[in-house]
Symmetry: C2
Subunit: 315 residues, 2 copies
């Protein structure tokens, strides 16, 4: 049996195809814009083309592929291999993606929620190795997650387990995109950082953030950059962010009692800026017996987590 | 092999021993005060005596017992069969309870967290039957829980999984017994109901609750009784309780995405008083795809959950 699996990271703006070996190494990769507005048929063509290109680049034959795993940013039915609904890709509703691609490639195709796939990739090849109970959390525009229970990816009854971003941590807090109030994601995502900054500046606080963002809308990156230069407002916002991240970790510990929690996503690249305060919050607030057995670390696969994790659905 | 297991529900005020068959029926039971202040040695003697009494009552021979399961209200090391620490039973620290009892009875002895045991009992014989992913939540003085993942009791890395009561739902909220702030337990337990009532009355609200409690401290029972008689304050407090329970259920759905959630414990006996508002909160706030696949029901085993669940650790 072939040792090569194809992993696909399907995103709203870009799609990435990788050929991945049994050790989680990416042997070939193809990356291109999704052009999601062109609709599902066109996107699926692009995926298929990219797979062919990756095979050509690496001199691997189609018949040598073990299967194709696809990390999907939204609602899926993993058992049926169906995309149910994607917020950021127009027209994707009830699409039997696995079936369509199996007909073309004649190999097994599996779908996974993108955060679940990344969690599984980190578990097999990255920050989760050796931890039987492992939670991966990705913090960027939103907050997603995946959980490994006793060595197996746990999806839940409707592929919706570990929706960490939508755990309510501030019951009287502000509205989240999901319709609920005070979700973890509404307080600790990159989007929340930018929102806190904009709000403070609109209220008259002066900050380097304004200069750095210029005419662009404020982004989390601007806040981190300003904080790196000692800007008071930016530092305060990142302390708040770190506090909320710490609370989210307390909740993960209380629910899953894992041996390890890894944090990935864009915000995790600023690790040193929030780690100390985040862990101080965990030390002060988490259940002692659960915190004692759990390490909190940075995810290891970085932007490769998507492709490697998707391939891991097949491996 | 014998079909009879012994289940022990060890509580701070009473201990209960039951002989339980393979269908979860209690064949004989012995209930007595724990007299926890007498210390572990005396309590263990009482457990052993009670087992002997139950065997005599039911004409079952000691050698016909398959094993003994003990539900313990506190910190344990399930793998080692050790009690680590119990808040409500003085002197219980690092006690190799399984070993001590195995030496006496020469059959396997297993420890479980009491809420985990009850969850497993409900899964095998009660409200959780047929649900591969199932969360049991007990709401009384505190809030505890247990979770079944893909048909197996999930304990976590340090027997601390499903500490549902200590998930933060109000990050700026009041202090919880665990040291953290705004825990679900601090807002939605029976103790919280009583505290909300006392506070409102201390601030000058008039209520039937005062008359019903008389010289006693206010208890959740008084609040439910007053609400049953149409008392405005009591009704408001129970609505608030129901709202917080709903938020807790949203969080359970977001984390575990189970097929079923069952609620037990003293507060669940007042089901009709909070069910409607609790589910309204779930409908308004939970992630749709997770709520759609999940039924929320009352636990079925009632006060037997402790003994049956403990026995289930052996079955």
């Amino acid at each position: 049996m072939s040792k090569i699996a194809c992993g696909i990271d399907l995103g709203g703006t870009k799609l990435e195809v990788g050929l991945v070996d049994d050790n989680g190494n990416i042997i070939a990769r193809v990356k291109r814009p999704t052009h999601a507005h062109e609709g599902p048929e066109s996107v699926i063509d692009k995926i298929n083309d990219s797979i062919m290109t990756a095979l050509e680049k690496s001199n691997i034959k189609q018949r040598d592929l073990r299967g194709i795993g696809i990390g999907v940013p939204g609602l899926i039915d993993a058992d049926m291999g169906k995309v149910i609904f994607l917020t950021n890709l127009p027209g994707w509703r009830d699409i039997p993606l696995a079936e369509i691609m199996e007909e073309k490639f004649h190999i097994p195709v599996k779908l996974g929620n993108d955060a679940d796939a990344a969690a599984y990739g980190e578990y097999l090849f990255g920050s989760g190795r050796g931890a039987r109970n492992f939670v991966y959390m990705t913090v960027s525009t939103g907050i997603g997650g995946g959980v490994i229970i006793e060595g197996k990816l746990y999806r839940g009854a409707s592929s919706g387990a570990a929706e960490i971003g939508h755990v309510v941590i501030d019951v009287h807090g502000e509205k989240c995109n999901c319709g609920n109030y005070g979700c973890f994601e509404a307080l600790a995502s990159g989007t929340a950082i930018a929102r806190f900054a904009k709000r403070a500046i609109d209220r008259g606080r002066h900050s380097l953030i304004e200069e750095l963002s210029g005419d662009e809308p404020i982004k989390a990156e601007h806040v981190f950059e300003a904080a790196g230069q000692g800007d008071r407002l930016a530092l305060d916002i990142i302390d708040e962010e770190a506090f909320y991240l710490g609370i989210g970790i307390c909740n993960i510990m209380a629910m899953y009692n894992p041996e390890r929690i890894a944090i990935g996503g864009g915000v995790s690249n600023q690790w040193d800026m929030f780690y100390h305060k985040m862990m101080e919050t965990v030390r002060d607030r988490a259940l002692k017996q659960n915190a004692k057995v759990c390490r909190v670390i940075k995810a290891e696969l970085g932007t490769d987590a998507g492709v490697v994790g998707a391939a891991a659905l097949i491996i």
